[in-house]
Amino acid sequence: MNVPAHPKAPISVENIWIDTIVSDDEAVRNRSLESLCAGIDANGLLAVADRLDTFRKESDNLYHRVRAQFYLAAIYRFFLPKVFCETQTGLLEFDAYQHILHRRFNEAIDVLLVAQANDGPTLAVTSALAKAYHQIGFQTLADQVRRSVRTVRGNQWMFRIGHPSDHPLRLHKRLMEVDPHHRSFPILVERTSVRMDFSHSGWSDIFFLGMDYPEGARVVNAAINLGVYGRDEAPRPPVEAYLRVIDRPVLRLVSVDLGAEAELTEIDDIFDFAKDYLGLLKAALIASGVVPPAMEGCHRKVSELLKTLTGRADLGLEVVSQVNDIPKGSRLAVSTNLLGSLISVLMRATGQVEQLEGGLSEPERRLVTARAILGEWLGGSGGGWQDSGGIWPGIKLIHGCPATPDDPEYGISRGRLMPQHVELDLQRVSKESREKLQKSLILVYGGMAQNVGPILEMVTEKYLVRSEKEWEARLEATKILDQIIDALQDGDIRKVGELTTRNFFGPLQTIIPWCTNRFTESIIEQCRVRFGEQFWGFWMLGGMSGGGMGFLFDPSIQNIARPWLLETLVATKRAMQTRLPFAMDPVVYDFEINDRGTWSTLLTGEQAVLADGYYSIVTPKWLKRDMRELSPQTQRELLQLSSKIRLGNTSSSWLLDRILPQPPKTAEAVSNLKELLQSNGFDREQHEQIRNDLLTGRLGLSQNRLPSQTSISDVELDDVIDLRLANDSDDLKRSVDSQSSPNASSLGYSALVDGRVAVVTLAAGVGSRWTGGAGVVKGLYPFCKFNGRHRSFIELHLAKSRKISERYRTLIPHVFTTGYMTHEPMAKHLDEANRYDYPGPVYLSPGKSVGLRTVPTARDLQFFWEETSHQILDEQQQKIRAGLHIALMNWATTVGEASDYTDNVPMQCMHPVGHWYEIPNMLRNGLLHQMLSEHPQLQYLMLHNIDTLGATVNPKMLGQHIQSGSCLSFEVIGRRADDRGGGLARVDGKLRLVEGLALPREEEEFKLSFYNTLTTWIDIDQLLSLFKLKRSDLEDTELVDAGIRKLAYRLPTYITIKDVKKRWGQAQEDVFPVAQFEKLWGDMSTLPEIRCEYFAVSTMRGQQLKDPAELDGWVRDGSAAYVNSLCSW
C-alpha cells in the first residue's frame, strides 16, 4: 500500500481526538487510545496526526499540549507502522536527528513532517517523529514542574538573591554561643525517618500524574525507623543531619556514609554536583536558601557569604550527613529524606523554621518538602511527591489537590504541585493495628541494582494516553488503596497482605510488567511453599520490586520467618547473581513506625561531639598537617579524641584502619586477574602494542574512522534481496510440499529437514548496555514473561529452534558462544535447566581470546564526549554531566592514560575482544570440528546476536542463501531513528557493511537505508576456505591458529569506550569509561575473495533489544507477541 503525501480524513474523526483532550466530561476525557485508533487506516491516522500537531502548537493549556504530544508519539510509534507497508524504505535527515539530540524538538518535528509530506511515512521518519514527540512531551512536563517549584511561595526569593552581601538570612545566635567550659560550638542534629508506602495507586505520586489527575493521585505511607536485623539493637531514625559553626571561614561538608569530605571556599564549587560524592549536601545548601540558587556563577567567595550569615569574618559552617548504612535502592526514599533532613536543619539554623529544636509545624513540613523537591531538581534526580514522607509523623494519606485560583498552577494544570497530607492518627489506625503490622511485616532489601527512571516515564505516558488495560488497572489500584485503608482501620493485617499482593500481581503488573522480576517471584513462591496460609502476602515498595520489599507473615511465626527469609534471600541471590544485576547481598530490617516525624536536638557542652564515623573521615587529613596549622577548634577536638581513646571510651581500631596502611585487599584480586587473563588467552604482547599505539595516537577513536576522502553512498534496491514479506510464522511445510519445482523455500526446507543447518547465538559479550555495565550474563537475564513466567534470552532462542525442529521434524544443533564472563554461568545454568529439554544438541563454544581494559586517553574521552553526537540532557542534568566529564578526565590523567584498568573485580577489568572472534573461536576450541564429526551433513550456520529475538531458521531465507551460492548472507533492516552503528553501504563503490565508528563523518550514516542486524547465514566450507582450511584440517590446531591469525591481521581493530560499573559501600555504584579494542564480524564483508549477499528482512525479525527501557515499547508494538509466535515452550 502506498500512502499519498497529503492525506485527508473526515473531520469528525480528528475532532474526536481533540474532544477527548479538552473535554471536562470524564467519560470523554478518559477514552482509551486503542478505542480512538480503532478502524482508522494510515491516511486517517496521518490526518489525525496533522490535526493534533496543529492543536498542540495552538493550545495554551499545558496538559492539552502534552496529551496531544503523547498521542502523536503513540501514533507514530505503535499504530502507523502497523498500517503502512515497511518496504517503503526511507532516510532520516541528519539535521532532524541533530535537532533531536540537541533537544530542539520542534525544529526536528518540522523537518520530519516535511520529509513525510514529500515521501510518505517511512519507518525512519515515523520512529524519529515518535521519539521527538515523546521527548518534547516529557520536556514540557519537566519544565512545568520546575516552574511550579520555583513559584512555590517561600522559594521565589532564592532565585533573586545573587550576591552574598544581599543575603537576607542570618545564622541563629544560639549556634554561635561557645560553651564556656568545653569551648565548643553546639551541634544541631536532625534525625529523620524514611518512608514506607503501603500503596501508591499505580505510581500516582509522579508529579506529572498528580498535577493532571489530583483525584487519582493518592498514596498511603508511614514514617519508619529502621535497624538492620542481626546488627542493630533497635530501630532508630536512619537519617541524620548535623550542623555546627566552625572557627574557619569555610563550608565544610562531610558525608559519613560515602566517606567524603570537602572544604569549600568558592561559591561556584557548591554548584558543582558531580565533582565529588557531596552532591546531596550541596543541593541541600542551595535548596535551603543558605546558598541561594541565584548565586550560581557569581564568582564570589564562600567567606563573604559566611560573613553576612554569621556577622563575623572568622566563622564557617560544617554540615554532616549520615545514613545508618541503608543501602542505595532501598525503595524507602532514603536520599529524599536525607535531603529533607539536611534542608530542615539548615532552615532551622537560619531561622526559616521557628523552632531550633523539636518537630516541625505542618506549614514548615510542607515548606521543607517543597525545598526538597527543588533540591532534587537541582541534583538532577526527581523523586515522587510522597517521598518526603519521613518528615511527617506516623501513617498518612497523601493526596493530590485541585489547583485553586490562589495557586500558581491554576489555569496551567488541574492539580497543584504540592499534595496534602492527612495523618491517619491513632483514632483511625489504632495502636494495636500498628503493633500487629510491625509484628507481621518483614522489610527487606533484596539487593538488586535497579533504575526506576524508565518505569516512571512509562507510567506517565500510559496514563496520559489512557492506554485501555492500564487505565482500568489504575482505577482498580485506586480501589485497592481504599480497601487497604479500611483494612488498616479494622486492624486486619492479613487483609492488608492480601490487598498488597493483589495490587502487585494485578494492577501494578498490568500497568508496568517490568516492576516484577524472576528474583522477586521466586522469593514469593518460596514463601508460599514454606509457610502456606501463614504467608500473608507481598508488598512492593516504591517504583519496582527487587530492592526494598515487604513480606507479611502470621505474627506468630515472625521469629521463624525472619531468619528463614534472610537465608532464602541470600541463597536465591547467589543462585541468580549471574543472571540479574545485584548491587549487594540482601538485608532484612527491623522497623517501627515513627510517630513524631523529623526531630531536632541541640547538643551542647560535652554532648557536642560528632560520631566516630565522622572522625574516621576527617582525622587522617588533620593528622597529615602540622598541629600548629590546625585551627584551635580542630586542635581541641583532636585532644578530646585522643583522651577518649586513651580512656577506652571509644575504639581506636577505626582510626588505625584509616591512618595505617591496610593489607592490600586487591592483592588476591590482582593475582586472580592474572590467572584469569592467562587462562582466557590474553595476549600480553598484543596488549602492549595496543597500549603503545593508543599513547602514540596510532590507535584511538578518531583513528577508527575510514579516511575522509572515502566515498560512502547508499545501496540501490537491487543490491539487496528483499525478504521483508517472508513471514517467519508461516507454515512453509505445506506450501513447499505442494510445489513441484525447486525454489528458495524448498531448497531451505530440504536443507532443514536434512539437518544441514545449525544456529549460532552470540552470547560471549557482557551486554554492557543492557545492564549498564553491571557485569551479568545478558543471555541468562530473565527479561520478559512468556507463557506465564520470566524467560531468559537463551531459553527464548532454544524455544524458537524447538518450534522449527518440531514443525519440520528435524533436529537443529544450537550453539551459544561464550566468553570469560559468560561461560561458567551459562554451562551451569543450562545443566540445571536440563537444557530446557531442547530436543537437539546444545553446545557451548567457549571464548579463546580476552583483552584487558585500559584507562582511556584524555584525547579519546574528549573525542567521545565532544566530537561524537550524544543526546543532550535536560538543562540541570546536562550541567551535572559536564561536571562529571571534567572529573573523569582528571581521573584518566591522574591514574595514567592507557594504563591497565585493574581497580575493580577481575571480571570487570577484562573484556571480550569483539564478535568477530566468536566464529574463529569455534574453530580454535574444536567445537566446529566436533559438530562436523557428529553431524557430517552440516553445511550452514545461522549466526545471530543474543538480542536479535526475532531471528529464527526461516527456510525461505536459508534457501535463498543456498541458491545465491554466497559464503555469507547478511540480514539487514530498514533503518529507524535509534538504529545507530553503521549499515549497508557502497564504500568506494564496493557493497559492504560498514561500522558506525568507521564512518569518516557522522552524517554519512544517515545516507544509509539499511541497518546491519548481524544475523548471518554462513556456508561452512566456503568460510573454512577463507581461513585456508578444509574440514579435515580442523584437528590441526597450528593450522587453525595460523589461518585465524592471518585473517585477523587483515581486519581492522577498533577502539571503543565502554561504561563499567564499580560497586562499593552500601550498594553504591560508580560508572567509569574504559577503553577496549574489538574486531567486528561485519568487516568480513570487506574481504574481496568471498561472495556476500544481503537480505532485507522485516523489522520484527531483525530488530535488537539492547536496553531494558525498550522492553515496554517492544511489548506494546507487538514484537513480543510476534516473537512468542515463533516459540514452542
Partner: protein
C-alpha cells in the same frame, strides 16, 4: 485624637552613643543627631518629649539636646530588657494619651514640604487609631526591620490596614505571609522607625511584659494590636536613614547635604574625590 507627646528610644545596647553624633543639617548648621530628631518632633507640634536612655547617659544627652533640653523628660531604662521594655518605661510620661514614637538611631528626610512625622500624625489623628510609618524595602534588608502584612485601605494610595507584624522575618516567611499587593516582588513594607502609639498599645505591651518574662520587640506587641483593633501603616513620602549601620552616618550626612544649602559645595567635593581616586589607586598600587 490629638498627639502632643513624643517618645524617643535611645537605650539600645551599643546604640546609645548614636544620637550624640554630630552632623551638618540641611541649612549647613552643625548639630547633634538628637537635636535633629527633636527638631522633627517639634516641627509637628509636639509639646513634650521623653527620651529613654541607659543609666548614666543623661548628661551627654542633655548637652546634645541643645535648646530643647528643657522640654525633655529623661527616662532611664535600668536594665537592658529589650525594645518593648524601653517603651514601657515611659508609661508614666504617656499616661492615657497617644504618643508619637521615634527611634534614636534614625534620621528622616521628607520628600515633600510636610515633615515625615507630620504626615504620620495627620493620618493618626484623622483615622483615630495606632499608625506605623512604613517604607517599601528590599528583601535583603529584612534582617534589620519589623515587617508588616497589610491590605491597602480603599481610596488611599499610601495607607494600609495591618494584618500581621513580624520582627526581622526570613525572606521565606516574608514571601509566604507578608507580601503586599501593589509592591514589586521581593519588596516588603518595613517599619520606618516612627509610630503613633495609642493607650491600647501600651496595654498590650504591659500584658506581654507580665506574661512573658523575656525581652520583646515592638513588632511583637504591634502584631497583637493588629489582631485586636484597627491598626494602620502609612507609606511616608520621605526617606529614613539608619545611622547605626556601616556607613550609615556618612550616607545620612550626604543625604542631608545634597538636599540642603550646601548641595553644590558637596557635589563639587565629591566630583573632586572621584577625580582624585584613580591617582590614589595608582599611587597605592592597588
Amino acid at each position: 485624637m490629638k498627639i502632643q507627646k513624643a517618645l524617643i528610644t535611645a537605650a539600645g545596647p551599643g546604640q546609645n552613643s548614636l544620637p550624640l553624633q554630630r552632623l551638618v543639617d540641611r541649612d549647613g548648621v552643625e548639630k547633634s543627631a538628637l537635636e535633629m530628631i527633636i527638631e522633627e518632633v517639634d516641627a509637628s507640634g509636639i509639646e513634650s518629649i521623653a527620651i529613654v536612655i541607659c543609666p548614666g547617659d543623661e548628661e551627654p544627652y542633655r548637652k546634645a539636646a541643645g535648646k530643647y533640653v528643657d522640654r525633655i523628660t529623661f527616662v532611664t531604662q535600668p536594665v537592658a530588657k529589650g525594645y518593648g521594655d524601653a517603651i514601657l518605661q515611659t508609661r508614666d510620661f504617656v499616661g492615657n494619651d497617644s504618643v508619637l514614637h521615634l527611634v534614636g538611631d534614625h534620621l528622616y528626610l521628607s520628600s515633600i514640604s510636610k515633615r515625615c512625622s507630620q504626615q504620620l500624625i495627620e493620618v493618626a489623628e484623622s483615622e483615630n487609631c495606632p499608625v506605623s510609618a512604613v517604607q517599601a524595602t528590599r528583601e535583603s534588608m529584612l534582617p534589620y526591620f519589623g515587617t508588616v502584612a497589610a491590605n491597602r485601605v480603599p481610596r488611599h494610595d499610601t495607607l494600609y490596614e495591618v494584618k500581621r507584624v513580624v520582627e526581622k522575618p526570613t525572606p521565606t516567611q516574608a514571601e509566604q505571609d507578608l507580601t503586599v499587593a501593589g509592591l514589586r516582588s521581593g519588596t516588603y513594607l518595613c517599619y520606618f522607625g516612627m509610630h503613633v502609639l495609642t493607650p491600647s498599645v501600651f496595654k498590650v505591651m504591659t500584658s506581654i511584659a507580665s506574661r512573658a518574662n523575656r525581652p520583646f520587640s515592638l513588632s511583637e506587641a504591634m502584631n497583637e494590636v493588629a489582631s485586636r483593633e484597627r491598626y494602620l501603616a502609612c507609606q511616608i513620602q520621605g526617606t529614613r536613614y539608619n545611622i547605626g549601620v556601616k556607613y550609615g552616618l556618612l550616607n545620612t550626612q550626604l543625604a542631608l547635604s545634597l538636599s540642603g544649602v550646601d548641595r553644590d559645595h558637596i557635589l563639587s567635593e565629591l566630583v573632586e574625590q572621584l577625580a582624585v581616586q584613580p591617582t590614589l589607586s595608582r599611587a597605592t598600587g592597588s
